[in-house]
């Protein structure tokens, strides 16, 4: 059974000021619990689309629906509450002068009771391992810690859909590993995740579905393996094939793996496949 559709965009278009269109005719539906990678080169419209989906930017034409309900001017805060964005650069998101005050900013804006805010802040800080740093000012934190704060910011608002704008861009491998664990935890909590990234290897490993942006519109939308195996889409979207897929192709070409083998998403799956092939 298909899960219910949470967020839906229909024929969105948007332009900044007088310039050319940053988005045109974008339609997208997001189902509960999905793990979606949003791919595309710089300036393809990913970030603009995210800001529209969260109600920060108002589309020129087209509609946004949340659980089937059309979002009008009065429902914008409702949309912002249900859909959270973790911005690319934590330094462009953090405004308060201590970590706990920063995390409280979202829940306070939701006009919750002090007790509830306190509880949520604590929960968010705990889930991001930030309790030790809660009285620190943000300018004495490392890059990875700031990223965790910016994620805790959103967790404290308890949205159903969480959008990450290029979360892997400024993180070192250890922090990317941390982020992957956080993402898995969120999926377990039943959150719906959209992540924009340039890292096709990360997208291939993590996502179930991929959406490809190019020139302000969506050029492909489907299961991640289908998208990343299509040379046409990769070309149009300015993307590269994930390394593991190249390895797959080579293994099949050299007849180490049979023609119709399943795709593997990480080295563990590859090893299992090879073991089965040569021991069984």
């Amino acid at each position: 059974m298909m899960e219910e559709i949470l967020l839906q965009a229909e024929n969105l278009s948007y332009s900044y000021g007088t310039g050319s269109k940053a988005l045109y005719d974008v339609s997208l539906s997001v189902r509960k619990g999905e793990k979606i990678a949003v791919l595309g080169s710089n300036g393809a419209g990913k970030s603009t689309c995210f800001l529209n989906l969260n109600g920060v930017l108002i589309p020129d034409t087209g509609t946004i629906r949340y659980k089937g309900k059309k979002i009008g001017k009065k429902d914008l805060n409702e949309l912002r509450r249900k859909v959270g964005i973790v911005f690319q650069d934590a330094d462009n998101q953090i405004i308060a002068s201590t970590v706990s005050a920063e995390v409280s900013f979202g829940p306070m804006n939701l006009r919750l009771s002090k007790e509830e805010v306190k509880q949520r802040v604590e929960m968010a800080l705990k889930s991001m391992n930030l309790m030790m740093l809660k009285d620190r000012p943000p300018h004495y934190l490392s890059g990875g810690e700031k990223k965790r704060v910016s994620i805790a910011d959103i967790i404290a608002m308890e949205p159903e859909v969480i959008i990450f704008d290029e979360p892997t861009a400024s993180l070192d491998p250890v922090n990317v590993e941390m982020l992957t664990q956080v993402l898995d935890k969120m999926t377990e909590m039943g959150k719906t995740l959209l992540i924009s990234t340039h890292d096709v290897d990360f997208a291939y490993k993590w996502a179930e579905r991929a959406v490809v942006f190019a020139g302000g519109t969506i050029i492909a939308d489907g299961p991640v393996t289908d998208i990343l195996t299509s040379d046409l889409i990769l070309n149009q979207g300015n993307l590269k094939k994930p390394v593991l897929m190249e390895v797959y192709d080579s293994l099949v070409k050299c007849r180490i793996l049979p023609e119709m083998s399943p795709y593997f998403r990480d080295t563990k799956e590859l090893n299992q496949l090879l073991n089965r092939q040569y021991e069984g």
Partner: protein, 256 residues
Amino acid sequence: MRTINTIDSYAYESRIKGVNPGLKAVVAMAALLFCIGTGDVLLSVTVFLSMGIITVFMGGLSVQKYLALLKIPVTFLVLGTAAIVVGIAHVPAGRFYITMPGFYLYLSDEGAALAARLILKAMAAVSAMYMLVLSTPASEIINLLGKLHVPKLISELMNLIYRFIFVMMDVQIHMKQAAESRLGYYNFLTSCRSFGGIGANLFIISLKKAGMYYDAMTARCYEGELLFLEEKRPVKAKEAAAAAGYLAFLLLLWLV
């Protein structure tokens, strides 16, 4: 983690950071008003020493750092009191004088005593304020102002400015490093040019960042009012008693 040696970072490391900021502010302000109001020398010396002791021994700031901070106002004081100490007369006067064409610059006993009292008073006031700012993070002081009914606009601006000082400082440091690596500070002329370029760029980046921050705040349901949860630091009876005792002691010292 990058720590800059600033008053700000000392405040976060202070051991008396947990004390209720209102209590610290009351003690500091009362001591300051005592010194300025009475002008009593003994009181000034007492406040200067006791505030120093609180900052260094209770707060845990190293003596060198504290003295280095005290040096800043001393410079201003020496320059400022010079004008008070030195008098101008048409006839030779005072304990010591210099002849200038048409008049005499002289130094009198009263002038020197006045200057000494003034310096002591000022240093006592400074040490009281240092006690407050070296143990209380800026955000708590801003919250305190909010409680004193300072207009919201001002306290919110202070909050944002405080955060942005560090954001912009970071940007500036990186731009300066990039300029240095391209010999932008090779000689005086190139330094001037790089400095100007960085200044202009900082302005543009500030505008851009302001836009991005606004988007990020809107995304978190910001509606024109900056709301944060404040950390409650209840006044402990022991601390309140110590503060009251200290102020009573100052009062007694003045009366006796």
